[in-house]
Assembly symmetry: C2
Homo-oligomer: 541 residues x 2
């Protein structure tokens, strides 16, 4: 007996219930036209994911229920498997519902609620305790939602209950290597239970998160029979015969640097689109970070939606201006040049009576960065463009950035991208077309806020700094453990003490796109008032 | 038989494990000198509360366990009941432990883990399932932690297990009216189970939270036998005789406005102290918000730790400058005057080539606010003073504030204080000594960023706006429900649409002190990219 299941890997918008509902109905119609018997949508697709504290609003939950009723009445002849937040009196569930010919064929409440990393599902939902199966054309289909299948327990329960195929609705956010991790873990569970699985994930950017899709079907041996493309909307139909999926198209998984680049492009595109901005603006310094953000923004939005500003000071080298111009010209992006000297001079004179007698320090460097922040925000305000801030994760970690200065902006594409990764992404982008001058990649990085300044004057070299930061921030390794891995004590001490002291800056930073297993934001919740000093007990030899 | 129990209502610092340990040992010694048999400390006092994601670090958990061992070996002759995060292999518990004469007499793992509001305890801890009793001088004492006793279940279980007294370790954050709510709910549980209770809460500020203490002892009839003062460290001994507490001192609960004022003062004091700042700085506009923050800061830190800056523009009225000076002089606070005109003019000229032909809008208003932000941050950077930002909750709600302008600063004391509450607090402060000129309280509020500007030109009057905001933000009421309560449709529509649209500003705002049941911050987690428009379906008549 044959069964056709459609996987609806689509991009939903948080709280845009009307648009999401229309999208579900349209996709279900298309699936039906392709002779699918069942169409599976991602987790909570009716509301978009994650709706966060909107889930605490009664009116929001009622709108979601109304939308599910609308879908139920508007689609016939195909079983529609969709996800939404369900209210039962005082109880709240992360639910999957199966709609067929105006009826609710089955309902399921997510059993495994993640409450770690970026997830807060115990904040919103009650735990479901039941499995749920429904039958179509003689096939018994089991409902599961995301986290449920990361351990074997629920798969085994469903197998025992007689399931022929596991359906899995997901909103599984991207980080580098996640697709492989997902398939490996889930397919090993599937193989163990000897049952095929249909995995549907959404795509799209939502604030800090990007969802990568890569929906797939695995057979009862845990072998991939179908895979959808990453980062693209796709409606695909997979046929089952004798309870096994028929092998069809398997989109390749991208190399890490490519998937990261695509995640950043989609993250920018969706943040701009979903928030209704008229394009973006950014400051171009001639450095590698802003060069990469410019390329990402142009790739995400088109060059005509991007505007750049060069804001040289007395410390800006000629080659920085030249390179910045070359970058904008290579991508066909319009740019302005506004030297910041008049504003810096004005502030110097205004503060002179109070600062007289004190020597120059980071105060004066910050004033320069903040004058640039004012100019960029003025252009952003006047034109309705989103200001992209260009700082990377290494800087954000150690506080090598100015609050309200270069940190000013609505969105920070590189917030979770280490400096070493910035170079890799820039090199990858240049293989598509040469848009970042070679000199920008090879010259030593500098903030150009003081004469002859270089990043490495006050920070360990990035080749040393970045792995230390990843171990400390993403893996919670202690200073002693990091030193035991062979990193120099002085560099470990310097890096960790800067991370510890700069939580206050990160708290006021704009959201950025998560591409590692732990980003700054919802993912990492540290106190500002904290006496924790990770490197306090390290002794320099 | 008599039993003496000491309540250690103290101020602990997050992650300052060495200092917290020393404080616990000292207080236990003092309790012993007062003939106490048992001393009870607050929840997680060894690490301070809440340590947030530090709880995910192995080295941090090891330090906490080491501290408990140190306490165990350093105190003899009194049972020490203390709280700390406990690791058992892969399991993590919010634990209470009883230490006596070098031994662990009893251990308890919190049963009820709050995961709502500001709490994320399922992120960090496993659920405990056991009760735990220990015996001292013939009394059976039961251990509970905070949330445990907000429902009657665990109290009943302990009663059934033969407990004579419930001990409750707490880190229960303040909001207006919380002390009464706490006592009412808990005492009704106690009365039902007919068992006395010893409730110990910490005091102190920790980022967004203030803990108010108000520790108490209730007898088996649910009657208060002892209460510690709010917002003060206090070590008190209560004697039990025939299993009932002997009535002793009962500190009165403050009127709401007084407790709120004290919460704000303690919140400022601890944020400055725990983060090692050399005092604070703030901009004085002549308006009510900055006048109140000035008084709070002076009361928290002493006038010599506070510095003010007047930054008039072409739109600043003379009376604003006069009043600002009077405020600083009344409190003996040093102030500077820096007119912002030179910087505003410089930016105008720099942007003229690009802005030529466009009319003035909020862009130009924002430039003024941001020039002030630069000046204040420059003084903050140069002097190592914390910049206090002075915006209130009403402004923060509707986005009536400038990112990187008046929102610049490390801490926002009024972030959770509505405009109407600002007036009440100012009036209360003036009853202690006249520090805020009457005119500042009576004149219509204005941002003074454009000629003749008044808040009410673009916002509903605060008497209408503030209750709408509280219903929408703190109580999740829908627009329709708020209108049904009698608020004007136009005002509801305006207020809600502004709240919905300004999440991006709040995301970059500094932390502030929570005094309502729902503050902006960890307490309210809304997406920025969101199509939710709470007032979309309201029809104006």
């Amino acid at each position: 007996m044959s069964l056709k299941i459609a996987l609806a890997q689509l991009n939903f918008a948080v709280a845009d219930i009307a648009a999401n509902t229309a999208k579900i109905i349209t996709a279900a119609e298309q699936a039906k036209q392709q002779q699918a018997n069942v169409v599976v949508f991602p987790e909570l697709c009716v509301t978009g994911y994650p709706p966060e504290d909107l889930l605490l609003r009664e009116d929001f939950l009622q709108q979601a229920q109304q939308a599910v009723d609308d879908i139920r009445h508007n689609i016939h002849g195909i079983a529609v498997v969709t996800g939404y937040p369900q209210a039962h009196g005082k109880w709240r569930y992360n639910a999957a519902t199966v709609l067929l010919d105006g009826q609710v064929l089955a309902e399921y409440h997510k059993n495994a609620l993640p409450n770690y990393g970026v997830f807060d599902e115990h904040r919103y939902f009650n735990v479901g305790h039941q499995t749920s199966l429904f039958e179509v054309k003689g096939y018994k289909l089991a409902l599961t939602i995301c986290e449920d299948i990361w351990t074997g327990d629920i798969i085994a329960k469903n197998r025992k209950a007689g399931a022929d195929i596991i359906l899995s609705l997901n909103a599984s956010p991207f980080h580098a290597g996640k697709m492989r991790e997902r398939e490996n873990i889930i397919c090993s569970q599937i193989k163990e239970a000897a049952i095929p699985l249909v995995y549907v994930n959404q795509i799209g950017g939502q604030d800090e998160l990007v969802f990568d899709g890569a929906s797939f079907v695995a057979d009862r041996n845990g072998k991939i029979a179908f895979r959808a493309a990453e980062f693209e909307e796709q409606l695909s139909v997979v046929e089952f015969f004798e309870k096994q999926p028929q092998a069809c198209s398997i989109a390749p998984l991208y190399q890490p640097v490519i998937s990261e680049y695509k995640a950043l492009v989609l993250g920018i595109k969706d943040y701009v689109r979903k928030n209704g901005f008229h394009g973006v603006i950014l400051g171009l310094s001639g450095g590698i970070d802003s060069a990469l953000v410019l390329a990402l923004a142009a790739d995400a939005l088109g060059s005509n939606q991007v505007e750049a500003v060069l804001m040289p000071s007395r410390y800006t080298q000629d080659m920085s201006n030249e390179d910045a111009k070359l970058e904008a010209e290579a991508l066909g992006v319009k740019y302005h040049i506004i030297p910041i000297e008049p504003a810096v001079t004005a502030f110097g004179a205004m503060l002179e009576p109070i600062f007289a007698g004190s020597s120059e320090d980071t105060t004066e460097e910050n004033i320069q960065a903040r004058c640039r922040g004012i100019l960029l925000m003025a252009l952003s305000n006047k034109q309705g463009r989103l200001l992209l801030t260009t700082g990377n994760k290494s800087e954000m970690s150690v506080g090598y950035s100015t609050l309200y200065g270069d940190m000013a902006g609505g969105f920070a594409p590189l917030k979770d991208v280490s400096k070493l990764m910035v170079y890799k992404l820039a090199e990858y982008r240049n293989t598509l077309s040469p848009v970042i001058p070679e000199r920008v990649i090879t010259r030593p990085p500098s903030a150009e806020l003081a004469p002859g300044q270089k990043d490495e004057d006050s920070l360990p070299p990035y080749a040393v700094l970045d792995p230390i930061l990843a171990l400390y921030i993403e893996q919670d390794k202690s200073a002693a453990e990091i030193v035991a891995m062979g990193y120099p004590v002085a560099a470990v001490k310097r890096a960790i003490s800067l991370v510890d002291r700069n939580e206050y800056k990160r708290r006021q930073s704009p959201p950025g796109i998560r591409i590692t297993p732990r980003a700054f934001g919802r993912d990492r919740r540290y106190p500002i008032s904290s006496a924790y000093r990770g490197a306090a007990n390290l002794v320099e030899e």
